[in-house]
């Protein structure tokens, strides 16, 4: 019984000492917002290609007409 008391005291002391060494790390993990930038770029590229497919010959014809008008303007 006499030996139990010092052991108990030692145990309490050890618990108190080691609890003082305890560290806590609280890391706030914010939700990661993934913006669909690549999707937007992909859509724009596809749209521009579709526009090119339709308008390329019209645009080329307009360029020719514009050049002719510019030449006429310079002649005058």
């Amino acid at each position: 019984m006499m030996t139990l008391i010092p052991r108990f005291i030692l145990l309490v002391w050890m618990v108190m000492m080691f609890s003082g060494c305890q560290t806590r790390h609280e890391v706030d993990v914010k939700p990661v917002e993934v913006k669909p930038i690549h999707i937007t770029i992909d859509v724009n590229i596809k749209v521009q290609k579709a526009l090119d497919d339709f308008f390329s010959d019209i645009d080329a014809q307009e360029d020719e007409i514009m050049e002719e008008l510019e030449e006429k303007k310079n002649e005058d």
Binding site: K46, A50, F54, I58, I65, M66
Partner: protein, 123 residues
Amino acid sequence: MRIKQWALYTIIGIAAVLTLADSVPAQGIKERMKERLPVIAQLKTQGIVGENNRGYLDFVGNEKTHEALIAQENQDRKTVYAHIAKQQNTSLSVVEKNRALQLIERAAPGTYVQMPDGTWVQK
């Protein structure tokens, strides 16, 4: 064997119909647009019309001529943009803005274009 052939012809037929249906609004509109080009080019060089920031023709100043032709051109453009928007599974405004950027890029010197912020500039 005959069933296989019949199935193959059916698939080819459906594919052809779908391909043609997909390009239905394109061909007639394209021809009309090409026919209008000389007048539109003339109006652009005169500074009467310019390309706005939504991919359509717009009057720059107070002088307004060939209003019906400009309206028809814009209507045809809208049909094409809507078709592309549907095809690419996106909105009409995305197509309009993309075309407007293309038109700003390729505008001839001296012609008017409307910048994304709404200001008109002469290239």
